[in-house]
Each structure stands twice: as C-alpha cells, then as structure tokens.
C-alpha cells in the first residue's frame, strides 16, 4: 500500500482544543490504534491516549473514530476510513482529560451505583450451589458477562448524554448478570439499585449500545430483562 491516510486528532485539555491534521502511511492490516501509536512515536510525542493489551481484552483504547465509538485496537483502518480520512476524538459522554484520554471514573462509579458488585449468599461455603451451565438462568448470565468495560456503549448512548445520573448500558448489563446469578444473596437488593432514578427505567431502548458493543453483547436486552424483573418484583410487593 502506498497512499497516506489523512488523520485528524482532537488535541487539547478539559474539553478545550481543536483537531490537528497528520499524514500517516497506510499499511496492510493496520488498526486505528496503530495509526494513533504511529503519530505519537513519529510525529507528535506529546499526544496523550490510553491503551494496554492491543488485543481487545482490556477495554482501555476506545475512542470516537469518524464520529462513532469503537475499540481502536480491533478496528482495522480499511473498515472505517472514509475517502482516505480518519477523524479521531476522545470518547463521548465522559469528562475529557487531555487529547484522546478521558476520565473513566464516572463510568466505573456508575457500575458500582447500579449494584455491580457480586455479593454471595453467606451460606455458600456450607451449601455449595451446583450451577448447570446449560440452565436458562446461567445462559442469560453468560450472554452478558463478557463485557470488558470499554465504555463504547456508554459513549454511543444518547440518554447518557442527556441525563447526567443515568448509570448507562454497561452498568445495567452488569446488574442483569447478577440478578440472574443463582449464587447472589439478595436479588431484590440489585433490583432496588437499578430501580433508582437514573437506573433501568431511564433507558429509552434506542439500542445504540447493542449496535456498537465491540463484543456483540446486547445491553438493550439486559435492560429490558431488568425492567421485566423490576415490574414483577413491584407486583409481588418486594420493591
């Protein structure tokens, strides 16, 4: 490959700044993260961005690529380049730190707020539960448990942009995997957490989370499941 890619990268601090243009050689099987790394190593050593594993496991390299949130380490340039151009910006809906780095703290704080911690039944050591991997409940947990916490769904979500206290699709997906987990001590506690303002009832089922999840998870389905479980608990008088 001989042509260059025209890359525009947002540079600045705390939301203030502008796009800066670079030219990067086009290579075979090149990822967007490769492009950003090339710019930092060869053209602009001061460029701030975040990555770790480079293989789609750590969830730290997500950015806005041509106005869509994506994991950059597993996004090939050829999939997203438009007329030889790439526009790369920090993830939407999160506080901006510098250049392509955002503050992920609110994203993980909201996971905790939605009841994202596993609290096992205290009797488990005495009565070890046998979990059938083929049971319907476990299959539902398995469908949502591969989240890597990359915040792509959170950046794609308009409700997260409009409503500051909305916990977001990843946090609710996590809560759903715990609600369906037979080992947790108190399912109703999780349902109470997601029933709070900014919880699952704030979701408008726009579906951007499911469309953009790089792991092909379906947070919309998880949130709909939480709404069902919440309504059932309410009708039974436990909420």
């Amino acid at each position: 490959m001989v042509s260059d890619i025209k890359v525009e990268i947002f540079k600045g601090e705390n939301g203030q700044g502008d796009f800066v243009a670079y030219e990067v050689p086009r290579l075979e099987s090149q990822t967007v993260l490769d492009v950003v790394t090339y710019i930092q190593r060869k053209l602009d050593p001061a460029l701030a961005y975040r990555f770790a594993c480079r293989v789609g496991m750590c969830g730290s390299c997500a950015m806005m690529v041509n106005n869509r949130p994506r994991w950059t380490c597993r996004t090939h340039v050829e999939e997203v380049v438009k007329q030889g151009q790439l526009k790369i910006a920090p993830l939407r809906n999160l506080p901006h730190i510098r250049d392509l780095a955002t503050d992920m703290a609110p994203f993980f704080d909201k996971m905790q707020k939605a009841g994202g911690c596993f609290v096992a039944d205290a009797t488990v050591p005495q009565h070890m539960l046998e979990i059938d991997p083929l049971s319907a409940a476990r299959q539902e947990v398995d469908a949502g448990i591969e989240c890597i916490g990359c915040a792509v769904c959170y950046a794609a979500c308009d409700v997260a942009a409009w409503k500051a206290d909305y916990v977001g699709p990843a946090a609710l997906n996590r809560a759903w995997t715990l609600v369906k987990d037979e080992r947790v001590a108190d399912v109703n506690w999780y349902l109470k957490q997601v029933a709070l303002d900014g919880g699952c009832t704030s979701c408008h089922t726009q579906g951007a989370c499911s469309v953009h999840c790089p792991k092909s998870l379906n947070p919309s389905r998880s949130i709909a499941g939480l709404k069902q479980a919440m309504a059932n608990a309410f009708l039974k008088g436990v909420l």
Partner: protein, 114 residues
C-alpha cells in the same frame, strides 16, 4: 467539546424518534379533536359544516398521515410493552420495520377508501 455523532444511524434509533414525534403530534391533535367534537354542543349544523370541510383532498391527506402516526405509535408502544414486560425477542428490526409497513398500509387503505 461539541462532537458530531453518527451512532444514531440504526433502525432502533429511528423507531425511538418516530415514536416520540408521533406521540407529540397526537398530543397536539387531541385537543383540536375534542374542540371539534365540542362544536356539536353549539349546534349540529356547525359540526356538519366542519365535517363537510374535511372532505377536501388536502384534509383527507392530513387525516391519512394522522392515521399512520396513530398506527406507528401504537405499534411502537406494543413493541416496547412486549419486550419490557413480557419477553425479549432478537428480531427487533423485523418488528420495527413490520410496524412501519403495516402503519403505512393502513394509511394507504384509508386513502383508497376515501
């Protein structure tokens, strides 16, 4: 930082926007509807006069749009009630596009019968 967003270009987002806009349009229409029905309190002639006025082609077209809005809002609402209170189904695109198609067909039938 203001960002241009293209993550809305998918069918579920279109369904969300259509559901909101049709809901707002129906909310605006309802008071006018009740106002027209209230004409009968003054005199039946006033209502008859208004009904005769609605026979104009442009008003008929507006009525067809209204029927499509009503159907599309109903279909969208039923879809949401189904997935949020009964059971999830992965064929959401089919449900959404089916709801749009049936709503348009009903509007067309209204025009053809008018």
């Amino acid at each position: 930082m203001k960002q241009l967003v293209e993550s809305r270009a998918h069918v579920a987002y279109v369904a969300f926007v259509v559901h909101r806009l049709s809901g707002i349009s129906l909310a605006v229409f309802l008071p006018v509807h009740f106002l027209v029905l209230g004409l009968v309190i003054e005199s039946t002639a006033a209502l008859d006069g208004f009904i005769a006025w609605t026979d104009q082609p442009l008003v008929k077209a507006a009525e067809a749009i209204l029927i499509v809005l009503l159907c599309v809002h109903l279909a969208g609402g039923l879809r949401l009630l189904l997935i949020e209170f009964v059971v999830w189904n992965d064929r959401q695109k089919l449900f959404i596009s089916g709801g749009f198609a049936i709503s348009l067909a009903i509007g067309l039938l209204f025009l053809l019968n008018g």
